[in-house]
């Protein structure tokens, strides 16, 4: 079968006793666009790594272009025309755009010497192919995430790839960039290149793919033509249970109590945001949204004392509160779940348990020494309450899937018993099943009287959970909208009506410019 590029047969792999893959099969043919879907931690990333030769399987074989491999080295995979675009892009931050694009090309051709003119030519050709404009001499570390994605794609197509595997390629792209990417994918397909597209965004999956393979818990669940699936059936196969995504039954509850829990008045921070006023009652969930650069994250950072506001007042439970530092914020019972949990929210190399108690260690001491029993009890309490799924809390956090990592961040902040919880992008890079559970956790917290602020691009998320939504633009609050009776189309319209121009802003749906590492 010369047309078969990839055949994965009965592949199994375990990490530290955890079965990541169990008897997985996958076939790809020339010019085929296939989507690989599954929840976080279902083994998608491991499967990709095996095909790319980065991880060696325990059992099973991989056949590339008719040649069977027991062990593939990365260089073998590249020579067989397998190109993987990882979620973290695997770029060299210290090298220029041109060199990043041409590096693997030169390496695969076993070049010993470097011809800088060639490097620029290869890079220019690749960039021309997808019709974008990039400064070839810029260092990658100085560029925004969306550009890095484009560079990774350029690098893949600059090598005569037969199969391009894209791991969550649209996470960091705007609507317009996603369109461009889909066009590129169609172009590649016409040239006979097969595309394996891994994504959480089911609408995109249904739109771009011809075939779909669904995985769950390290096994194949089902496989078939895209025409045979719809959103609901995908979700059902992925999670193994029915999840009503629209969840209309849940009515966001209004807050209670006469004195607002948090009251911000004319809060300003030079160059970041200005004149922001809002209030949050106990037990209330409010949302803040806005396009990139709207100042919503900056506002959150100020409320949490990272970049204190330089004008305006904050009062908590009716008393004026000075929040000049994170310590102040924590003392006032404010918790912050950051936008990028990998960088700001977790000690990735440390154990799950240490991460959970990181914020409360001082309370878990006796005469200055750490009270092991209390620490253990707290870790157990939160892993159970938040259903963190792991064989051991001693494992490093990076061994967890995205949804579980997010729960660890949540646990860390819940452990300080916050009165106010600010969550920035609480479900970015989290799969459908975990997303529903995280939403449930948030609503439960509100029911217990915690005031929650959700900052998000995900409009359905805001509409389902919040009772009011603040729309920000250029550092100011434009509108405060009650969600009752507000439709998604309405909100999209309000958001885009405030946008300066559709091209420079981010359409509300896809604008999650975040880098998410492979789970």
């Amino acid at each position: 079968m010369p047309d078969q590029i990839l055949n994965v047969d009965n592949l199994s792999k375990s990490f530290a006793g955890v079965r990541a893959l169990q008897g997985v099969n996958l076939t790809m043919e020339r010019g085929e666009i296939r989507c690989l879907v599954g929840e976080n931690g279902c083994g998608k990333s491991t499967l990709i790594k095996v095909i790319a030769g980065v991880v060696q399987p325990d059992e099973g074989t991989v056949t590339l272009n008719g040649r069977q491999y027991r062990q593939i080295r990365p260089i073998d995979a590249i020579r067989e025309g397998i190109q993987v675009i990882y979620q973290d892009f695997s770029l060299f931050p210290n090298l220029t755009v041109a060199e990043n694009i041409a590096f693997n090309y030169n390496l695969a051709r076993k070049k010993q010497l470097v011809n800088w003119r060639d490097i620029n030519r290869i890079a220019r050709e690749a960039i021309a192919k997808i019709g974008v404009d990039l400064d070839l001499g810029a260092y990658v570390e100085d560029l925004p995430v969306a550009d890095k994605q484009i560079i990774a794609i350029c690098r893949a197509i600059s090598q005569s790839a037969r199969l391009v595997i894209m791991d969550e390629p649209t996470t960091a792209l705007t609507e317009k960039e996603v369109r461009a990417l889909f066009n590129i994918i169609k172009t590649l397909q016409r040239e006979g290149i097969a595309i394996l597209f891994v994504s959480h965004k089911l609408n995109e999956v249904l739109e771009i793919s011809e075939k779909i393979t669904i995985m769950r818990n390290g096994r194949n669940v089902t496989d078939g033509n895209t025409a045979g699936f719809d959103r609901a059936s995908l979700v059902k196969h992925m999670t193994g249970r029915e999840i009503n995504e629209t969840n209309a039954a849940i009515v966001p509850q209004a807050g209670n109590g006469s004195v607002p829990l948090l009251q911000a008045e004319n809060l300003s921070c030079r160059g970041r945001f200005a004149d922001v006023s809002f209030s949050l009652a106990a037990g209330e969930i409010i949302g803040i949204t806005g396009l990139l650069g709207s100042g919503r994250t900056e506002l959150a950072l100020s409320l949490f004392g990272i970049r204190p506001a330089d004008a305006g007042t904050i009062s908590i439970e009716g008393r004026p509160a000075e929040i000049r530092s994170v310590q102040d914020a924590v003392r006032h019972g404010i918790g912050y779940v950051p936008e990028d949990r990998l960088i700001e929210g977790l000690f990735l190399e440390r154990s799950i348990g240490s991460n959970i108690v990181a914020g409360t260690l001082r309370r878990l001491t006796r005469r200055g020494l750490i009270n092991r029993a209390a620490v253990g009890a707290q870790i157990r309490q939160w892993t159970e309450n938040l259903h963190i799924n792991t064989p051991s809390t001693e494992l490093p956090v990076k061994s967890l899937s995205g949804g579980n990592q997010q729960r660890v961040v949540l646990a860390k902040w819940l452990a300080i018993n916050p009165k106010i919880l600010i969550m920035n992008g609480p479900t970015v890079g989290v799969d459908v099943g975990s997303k529903a559970e995280i939403h449930q956790i948030i609503r439960d917290l509100a029911r217990q009287g915690i005031g929650v602020i959700i900052i998000s691009d995900d409009l359905p998320e805001l509409l389902q959970n919040c009772c009011r939504i603040l729309v920000m633009r250029k550092g100011r609050v434009l509108e405060e909208l009650p969600t009752e009776g507000l439709s998604e189309a309405d909100l999209t319209h309000r958001l885009s009506a405030t946008a300066p121009a559709p091209a420079s802003g981010t359409p509300a749906h896809s604008g999650q410019r975040k880098q998410v590492r492979p789970s």
């Binding site: 990365p74 770029l91 060299f92 693997n104 390496l107 650069g293 900056e298």
Partner: protein, 331 residues
């Protein structure tokens, strides 16, 4: 142009120039041929070691053992040559010393590449082992009667000047070795895939592995090459001071690392150039040799170098912090 102004090499060059002008204004002796030759002479050993150190730092590692390797290699090589009663060309001394250095460097490389141990810990450990082994098994005495070839090489000069007192000051031939090595390292780092691989490794190790780079091979090469250069610099050192003292050189690794870092190499890896390193070496050598011309007590040299390091790395760190704060607002 903007890029040149923003590069760290530009800053170091500026500092070197300003420093030269100030010292020269206060004491015109600084601009004499005599002083220039003297500076070059004292910069050669530091310079060769710095080239090796640069490669390690670019790859994302830290080596603190190369000074020990240098003295170990030349000490053992001299002992062997004396035992053989060899009095021929200095090339044999260089080959022997470089071979010994390479073996010791490969030992570091093996521990680092195969066992994936942290580079600084490995080289701290091995430098102690090498030093102990040298003192126990090879000897503790200063060798004053060096083989003729090494002595002759130390006296050979490219040019000579005589100063006011009638003393003749020469420019040693070993300067050629330093500049030759610098050109070779520059060519390797800029125009070979191996060199680019070293930059890639220092930029992101995981990405380098995924790209299909032979990371183990590259690391073996790097530490082997550092050992090789150390062996060469050991012979140069011996030829200039006309003896081999097993207690020499050890401790100079901090000066060398300082020179490389001042030359703009990023201590976390991925950035650094030969040109910058040469500037960094100039800076350190001038500070070490010329503060005395200003009448500044030599005790201040170390403190002055420390201040320079803090300023040099501090400015770049501060700049990148400001830039990332600006990015935060844009994104």
């Amino acid at each position: 142009m903007k890029k040149i102004l923003r590069s760290s090499e530009f800053f170091v060059a500026l500092v070197v120039m300003v420093l030269c002008i100030i010292i020269g204004l206060i004491n015109p002796v600084f601009f004499s041929w005599e002083n220039l030759f003297d500076l070059l002479r004292s910069g050669v050993v530091t310079g060769i070691l710095a080239l090796g150190c640069l490669i390690v730092i670019v790859s994302g590692g830290t080596d603190v053992s190369f000074a020990t390797i240098a003295i170990f290699a030349v000490y053992l090589a001299s002992k062997i040559l004396i035992a053989w009663q060899f009095d021929g060309t200095v090339l044999v001394a260089f080959l022997l010393s470089a071979a010994i250095g390479t073996v010791l460097g490969l030992f570091n490389g093996a521990l680092i590449a195969w066992f994936r141990l942290p580079t600084m810990i490995v080289t701290l450990g091995t430098s102690s082992i090498f030093r102990g082994a040298m003192l126990v098994f090879i000897g503790t005495f200063i060798i004053n009667k060096l083989p003729q070839g090494i002595l002759a090489f130390g006296q050979a000069t490219l040019a000579q000047v005589s100063n006011a007192n009638g003393a003749v000051i020469g420019l040693p031939v070993s300067v050629v070795i330093f500049f030759g090595a610098a050109v070779l390292v520059w060519l390797m780092m800029k125009y070979t895939m191996l060199g680019r691989g070293i930059y890639a490794l220092g930029g992101d190790r995981v990405a380098a592995e995924r790209a299909g780079l032979n990371v183990i091979g590259i690391q073996l090469f790097i530490y082997g090459l550092v050992g090789f250069l150390a062996g060469i610099s050991g012979v140069v050192h011996a030829s200039l001071v006309r003896n081999v003292n097993p207690f020499d050189l050890i401790g100079t690794e901090m000066n060398v690392i300082a020179a490389v870092v001042l030359g703009g190499a990023r201590i976390t890896g991925g950035r650094g150039t030969v040109f910058g390193t040469i500037l960094g070496v100039m800076l350190v050598v001038i500070m070490n040799n010329s503060l005395i011309l200003l009448g500044i007590p030599s005790y201040w040299q170390r403190a002055a170098i420390g201040v320079l390091i803090l300023l040099g790395t501090g400015i770049t760190a501060w700049q990148s912090k400001r830039e990332s704060a600006a990015n935060l607002l844009e994104s």
